[in-house]
């Protein structure tokens, strides 16, 4: 009888332990690793811009919360406070796609020049004057 009770108690403690472990894991989960995850959407910078300029709300629904892979031509590279930003060209106008690079990709960003054709992936956060993509990493073609 005693042994049975003991077994039940151990069982409960085990379940409790697993529960706590799971919750702690969930709580401490880091941000999605962009480098290791596959892109949900692949698109050219121009197409992305055109979509946003046509309809911001539906584009938000389509692109936000997804890892997107964008290809385009570099119009400028800015470095400020250890953050680098690659600006992809807009053929038609003043706008652009601004790719804010992850700090771990800074060294590779330094090797790039204007007019280089590149592919990056990152998280799209929306549109201000430009389409903004954060936490970008370079994709080797």
């Amino acid at each position: 009888m005693k042994i049975k009770k003991f077994k039940i108690l151990v069982g409960f403690l085990l379940l409790f332990g697993i529960g706590i472990f799971y919750l702690l894991n969930l709580y401490n989960k880091p941000l999605l690793n962009i480098k290791k995850s596959n892109a949900d959407i692949s698109i050219s910078a121009q197409q992305l811009l055109d979509d946003y300029q046509k309809d911001e709300t539906s584009s938000n629904k389509k692109y936000i919360n997804n890892v997107i892979q964008v290809s385009g031509e570099i119009s400028d590279i800015k470095v400020d406070n250890g953050n680098s930003v690659i600006i992809l060209k807009d053929v038609n106008g003043q706008s652009s796609v601004m790719c804010h690079m992850s700090p771990e990709d800074n060294l590779n960003t330094l090797k790039l020049k204007k007019n280089d054709k590149i592919v990056v992936k990152g998280m799209c956060t929306g549109y201000l004057l430009d389409v903004i993509i954060v936490r970008c990493v370079l994709v080797n073609k």
Partner: protein
């Protein structure tokens, strides 16, 4: 004669446009910080858009809520999906003016910024002490202020009420450069 008038007119008109000097920043920094007994939460946004009119000292700031990056995935998810509802209100905006803008210079950079802050579809008048440095063709503004979560109709569930401060500290640092078309 008529052509000359048109020429003269267009020169005057062009002057008008160029004298409206606008200063622009596309990569301003805004962060917020919540301190509670349980945990400290911080999120950074490096994609702040801001425009200052050098004639009037007017300032307009916009940012995307989803550009706030947290340390932990769950915090970011709760922030966007439950608290500020980024799918409904993707942007936060501020529109106001820098007080005594014309009198500011390198030595005298302490002033106040006043205006309307709009988050989560709610508007509130705020004013804050700020440093505005106008130097070498740049306008740099920096400072911090407090916002009350309840002012913007942001509901925090009871279970995490102790994890999140009722008053959040917002820090800003934005470097504006002349806007060239």
């Amino acid at each position: 004669m008529k052509k000359r008038y048109i020429l003269l007119f267009s020169i005057l008109f062009l002057n008008q446009i160029f004298s409206q000097e606008k200063y622009l920043a596309k990569d301003g920094y805004i962060s917020f910080f919540s301190h509670s007994l349980v945990e400290d939460i911080k999120a950074d946004n490096n994609q702040v858009l801001s425009i200052i009119d050098k004639e009037t000292g007017e300032i307009a700031i916009q940012l995307l809520m989803r550009s706030f990056l947290f340390k932990k995935a769950l915090m970011q998810q709760h922030f966007n999906e439950s608290y500020v509802e980024s799918h409904k209100y993707p942007k936060a905006k501020f529109k106001g003016y820098i007080i005594n803008f014309k009198d500011l210079n390198k030595e005298n950079s302490n002033t106040e910024i006043k205006g309307t802050l709009s988050i989560h579809g709610k508007e509130k008048e705020i004013s804050t002490i700020a440093k505005v440095i106008i130097h070498e063709g740049e306008i740099n503004i920096s400072g911090d202020f407090m916002v009350e979560v309840a002012d913007f109709n942001i509901k925090i569930p009871a279970i995490v009420r102790n994890n999140i401060a009722k008053i959040i500290k917002v820090t800003f640092e934005i470097k504006h450069k002349p806007y060239l078309k």
